[in-house]
Symmetry: C2
Subunit: 311 residues, 2 copies
């Protein structure tokens, strides 16, 4: 029995055929749901480790009111401490947040809405329509201040809302189209409660009218489906994915359960399938360890555990 | 914004279109790698809970020498305590094991080999060829004693060997074909170290000469790729998968890392994709809790955690 050794790269595709773009959201989407606060210094060190591992786009913080998200209340302190190199974005909920962000030199903003009224009502006390009006205001003001800036947008509950149940693809695609029409450079489709499976991804994708190059996918791995969804997206030609180092970020609707797709799992999968991410997995596997320790969690992302166990 | 509520079933496919067959391997493949021994009584209760959750095929134990796998050394005590209902199989390494099994009334046996000589040499001190000779002997003897019995076989290291590296699909397919020719009713392709991704699954599948209906897939989720691999298999028309309740069973080659695909993740995925498994997920999510506690582990399977958090 002969075996064919080929440890260096994928078996059936040459490495580097296609690039996958990862937007690392751990410092923002990951930390905002953690109960234990993390110091500004630890956050800056975390971001520096992520950058050193090769992550090129990082959502670093949020300019939401500290009243609502105290964990990210140090945006003004953190922003100047971010190491140069990566492209950083920050969540901006409204004109007040935009003012704070632009004052600090933020050039990439992220805006949030959802496809479900019940979800936006409970989260930001607006209807989806009202939140789109705010997004329009913020985008126009941002373009005036920072004409070359980048606007990413989130459609939360893209597949299912914890209050309203399953969302029709046409409804989600409608919201995504509105954001695109408002001038968003990118629309990220969020599986907020981590329930979706590939056939739903394909259904939504077939309904979307946002160009592939402007669409990102923000999967949560709450029930273990995120990587299968990424696989479906890659087959459809999408190449932008959000993820969180170490899988940081529990889902507030399922206490104790996992939340964001772990960047380690995403990087491993892409690499094994022959897609280039530019990320060094062993470095990435160590990047979130201090922050995990700070929030009192043991590592739990699968590829992270596998890499740590092997080293 | 209207939302389409449809909590009862999958969105794009009617439930019950296709059945997925799950072979639950937790009591055997899961427990054999746990360091802490589990009492016979706990094992019997575990199997009873799995059966009550709707699992119809369960690999209950192993007739390997207790010297090698002390955790399953109580096969003789356990077997008569298994509740009626499910179809039970047991791992049988050789004629001596077969004699013990048949004496107890075992009617479904499982045999083990691999595609890599280095792996079989280190695990069972035989070449693959020698292990196939043993498999042939055992199958012939079993057919004589139990003509209507069922023979399942495993090809471990189907994609990659921890010692020899990547395996050529033709080599793995060759071993699978030999097992089929020896009269196996089923050949399970094992991603022993949990590294494979869907393109590898498709490559191997395209090379296999075993009928779809006689092929099962035994994925490990060590790096989070198992469900994506299941998705690839379902698309190819396969419908038999091995999994382990609670994800029980660490991988001996990556300490602390995950091992077997969790049955909870598999059941959730199938159900969301519109495949019928016959398993009740909330019952299943609780089935492994006593055993997890006995071996000193907290639940970690994603869909299990999500279900437990919601209940």
């Amino acid at each position: 029995m002969a075996s064919l050794r080929n440890g260096a790269g994928p078996f059936f595709r040459r490495e580097g055929d296609v690039k996958v773009r990862i937007v690392e959201v751990g410092p923002r989407d990951g930390l905002q749901n953690e109960a234990t606060p993390v110091s500004t210094q630890s956050k800056a060190a975390f971001v520096a480790s992520l950058a050193a591992a090769g992550l090129h786009e990082i959502e670093a913080t949020s300019f939401v009111s500290p009243k609502w998200v105290p964990q990210l209340g140090d945006a003004e302190e953190l922003w100047p401490r971010l190491p140069t190199g990566p492209l950083y974005s920050a969540l901006v909920p409204n004109l007040r947040g935009l003012e704070r962000a632009v004052g600090l030199g933020v050039r990439r903003i992220a805006l949030f809405t959802a496809s479900s009224d019940l979800f936006t009502k409970r989260n930001i006390n607006m209807t989806v329509e009202e939140s789109l009006a705010v997004a329009g205001e913020v985008i126009r003001a941002f373009r005036k201040s920072v004409p070359e800036g980048f606007v990413r947008t989130y459609v939360s509950t893209a597949f299912e809302c914890p209050y309203a149940g399953r969302m029709a693809p046409s409804v989600t695609a409608g919201v995504a189209g509105r954001l695109h029409d408002l001038g968003a450079d990118e629309v990220a489709m969020g599986d907020t409660i981590g329930v979706a499976s590939p056939s739903e991804v394909r259904s939504l994708a077939s309904t979307l009218e946002v160009p592939l190059s402007k669409t990102a996918w923000h999967f949560h791995d709450t029930r273990g489906t995120a990587i299968a969804n990424v696989a479906a997206c890659l087959e459809l030609g999408y190449s932008s994915f959000d993820s969180s180092a170490g899988g940081l970020g529990g889902c507030p609707y399922a206490k104790g359960a996992g939340g964001n797709l772990a960047t380690e799992d995403l990087v491993y999968f892409c690499s094994r399938e022959g897609f280039e991410t530019g990320v060094d997995l062993p470095s990435l596997a160590r990047a979130s360890l201090p922050v995990l320790e700070a929030v009192g969690r043991s590592p739990f992302a699968r590829a992270q555990l596998a890499v740590l166990a092997a080293s």
